[in-house]
Amino acid sequence: MAVSAGTLRRPAEGGLWSTVWEWLTTVDHKRIGLLYFWTVLFWFLLAGVEALILRLQLARPDAGVLTPAVYNQLYTMHGTLMVFLVGTPAASVFANMVLPLMIGARDVAFPRLNALSYWVFLFGGILLNAGWLAGGAFDVGWTGYANMSTRPFTQSIGANFWVMGLIVLGLSTMASAFNFLVTIINMRAPGMTLMRMPLMVWALTVVFILVIFAFPVLTVALIFLWFDRFYGTRFFDVAAGGNVFLWQHLFWVFGHPEVYILILPAFGILSEVIPTFSRKPIFGYSTMVLAMGAIAFLGFSVWAHHMFTTGMGPVGNFAFSLSTMLIAIPTGVKVFNWLATMWGGRIRWRVPMLFAGATVLLFILGGLSGMMHASPPIDSQQQDTYFVVAHFHYVLFGGLVMAMFAGVYYWLPKLTGRLLDEGLGKWHFWLTFIGFNLTFFPMHILGALGMPRRIYTYPAEAGWGGLNLLITIGAYILALGILVFAYNLLRSLRKGEPAGSDPWDGRTLEWSIPSPPPEYNFEEIPVVHGRDAWWEQKRQRRVAPVGGGSNGDPHAPGEGHQPGPGREVIHLPKPSIIPLVLALGLAVAGVGTIYHPAVIALGLAITIGAIVAWAIEPPLQGAVHSKE
């Protein structure tokens, strides 16, 4: 079977159905990356719309736009979606899009497992949101505090969908983490030692290690809650001897490493974009790796700083304040290293770099407000107020989402073969940057003025009306920026300027192959002699990028890829529908746990059948020949 380059936008040979089938059965990490990307974008837009509706209710005091019931559901689902369906899969989005390309691999270690991760992510996400259709979404906040979330206080069916959705999503995240760790450990190109890996790969490595240790704890907490809700256990039933702090400890033992699961991909993106656009290698590579390791390690020792006001006593508060403040040190090191990378460089003000610069700026602000509530006495005034809301939006929107935008402008052209528009990108950047700050900066002040979070209304006499109106205006400016982004994305697919293989004069291996890359990524596995492998090749050997480079003919990237006799043989994984079927089986079983045991049996039957079929199905398809 002939596979040419540009499989990602190759016109389908058998019409629409065959194209759909190709995507449903794909095991190609690049296509799975795009599936992840579009799905995450969808959830991001949905959660964003939820936030916009919330802002209408909060724009003025005593507003009646939403009932308290709907408000509580919306804010809960906004947070849940942004954390579990946008931030958490960010690592999988970018790992799928570029990780194998960056380490010189032909695919991930377990391509079918990779497809399974995606389909479980999709169905888990739908399950998580299904409460809306079944009579009301979960309404206890994304943190789902028990005993509030146990059945005596929350009867809604949305709570069941929330718990089961998160349990199912955990499977996807874990599978993805193991898959990419094995890929990173085993499939690096010859010569790419650990300390020669691009920092993006390092960041993702740390993320996946964190996932493996943190997510099981969440699953345990969720199973406790599930058992309390359904089978009469009493983990959180205080009157029966249960413990009201158990959920909080378990949730935050997961929840704080989760914060680093969310932010480290952003650190990785910055560590690639900033050197490329400054035309300098990253400053202090080893300290960057060390800092990420330190952040990950300390990240597991800070969880109870979310619990300073629960009455842990001075020793507990002191200990968790200490470990929290320590994290400021490796974080500071990273910021300074990015600064030093820019220093003396030749900074090209292209859209990815604008987003990267803004990310550093906003992350500094988010870090500093975080420093404030690392102090338990100050936290006792900031905990559960809009100050905290401001803080984590600076870190997670200003830090993660802005960095994701940088990453999308930077790497998406590698997969689609087309650049996003620079002018629209700048509109996107400025609207987002201004809208973001207008939305979230005043929240610091609101918090200091005593406005608690998660309240659906406030009286005029509280004096919060003016700032809230300003915030709502800011939110809609921000939304306008996101609309420009969405338009830019869609436009780029058809009308975008062809990217060529190396549009940014990149430094890492993904820029040495055509855009979009052939299905097998590398015709010849590269040999790596140092960091910034592609940059070194370009400098020392003056190699022209494959496919003509940014100045070459972008329409001919696939030329010369016809297989012929005597050429290298590449074994590609066989497309398979089984991962989708297996994921569907899990989702059906999940729905069954809420409604009826017979449905569980049906779901498990599908799942087990799929597992058996998976075991029997041959993993490889016929060999493909690359050029000499």
């Binding site: 006001t309 500093l368 005593g450």
Partner: protein, 343 residues
């Protein structure tokens, strides 16, 4: 100096000024954390300024460096290839050291305060038990017994004498709540099944706004309360009047209201001191006429708002345990007249 283009446009300057004014008016907020009218809030405020100062210093200097680098090293035509710098051990050590020093500057006073706040309350402290309910507050004055031998109880308004330490013990009757009066002290959670402590001394008389800070269900937003810090003598007078509380002489509408109160079963849930109304499901209504609001400050305490509340409580406060009793207009106005006598 060159005036930045933005500032050359009067419209933008006007916007900037109105924004600034908006922020200033916002500071009149009665629930702000900068009041410092309690010793705890005042100590935190001192720390607050230290941390804000440190954050401003770090933020301004690092962001200035960032912007400088971003503009100064912007690509210019004809610029040469930048030098390949891979690192510098001395520098990297320096920016390990800088955050360490800054962390120590803010950490040490923070931790000292943690241990100070953790000390046992002084022996002369007023003992008050705080119980959070969905969605109202109960305050039990353990030092003062009422006529029936039980501690005095007030609902949604906490009365304290100025200058005397108060030792609160907090718990919850249902889910987790958080007791927070920003101008007096930082917040402390009220947990079911576990007791937490909060000790502070109110330093100035006045009425302070408080609100539940931990999401506790449907009407979490309407779980507000007030703390009234009184001069010592006035507080004593309040205690005495409550200890000897009996119904005032009732006549006309008010008397009819008292009949309605008993006939419609209000006494099953509410207590009025010195009467046979001993319910404990809802707040104690003794003294309700002098409170700032009704339904945990969801509504101001006016006859119209009280009537609105009685007509259909869950319509005012979603999920309220107080049901719609389908009271007639006459019953409602009688009840309003009766409750107005409970000063």
């Amino acid at each position: 100096m060159r005036i930045p283009p933005l500032l050359r446009r009067p419209r933008w300057v006007a916007w900037g000024i109105s924004l600034f004014l908006l922020l200033l008016t916002a500071c009149a907020s009665p629930q702000n954390t900068f009041g410092g009218q309690g010793d705890q809030a005042r100590t935190i405020l001192g720390l607050y300024w230290l941390l804000i100062g440190a954050a401003l210093f770090v933020g301004v200097s690092v962001i200035a460096l960032l912007l400088y680098a971003f503009f100064r090293f912007r690509e210019r035509p004809g610029a040469g290839e930048p030098k390949e710098v891979h690192g510098n051990t001395a520098l990297e050590f320096a920016w390990f050291l800088i955050p360490t020093i800054i962390v120590l500057i803010v950490a040490i006073p923070s931790w000292r305060t943690v241990f100070r706040f953790g000390q046992a309350p002084p022996p002369n402290a007023l003992q008050v038990q705080v119980v959070g309910h969905q969605w109202w507050w109960e305050f039990r004055y353990l030092d003062y017994k009422g006529a029936d031998g039980n501690p005095l109880v007030s609902g949604n308004e906490l009365y304290l004498p100025v200058g005397r330490p108060v030792a609160l013990t907090l718990r919850s009757a249902d889910v987790i709540h958080s007791f927070w009066v920003p101008r007096l002290a930082g917040k402390a959670d009220a947990n079911p099944g576990v007791t937490t402590r909060l000790t502070f001394t109110p330093l100035e008389t006045g009425t302070y706004y408080g609100q539940c800070a931990e999401f506790c269900g449907l009407s979490h937003a309407l779980m507000r309360f007030r703390v009234k810090v009184l001069p010592a003598e006035e507080f004593e007078r309040w205690v005495q009047s409550r200890q000897a509380y009996t119904l005032p002489p009732l006549a006309g509408e008010a008397e009819k209201g008292w009949q309605v109160f008993q006939a419609r079963g209000c006494n099953a849930c509410h207590t009025i001191d010195g009467t046979n109304a001993r319910g404990i499901i809802g707040p104690n209504l003794t003294g309700i006429a002098s409170r700032d609001g009704v339904a945990a400050m969801a509504l101001p305490n006016t006859p119209e708002d009280l009537a609105r509340w009685l007509r259909n409580p869950p319509a005012v406060k979603a999920g309220s345990k107080m049901p719609n009793l389908n009271l007639t207009d006459e019953e409602i106005s009688a009840l309003v007249a009766f409750l107005a006598t409970l000063k």
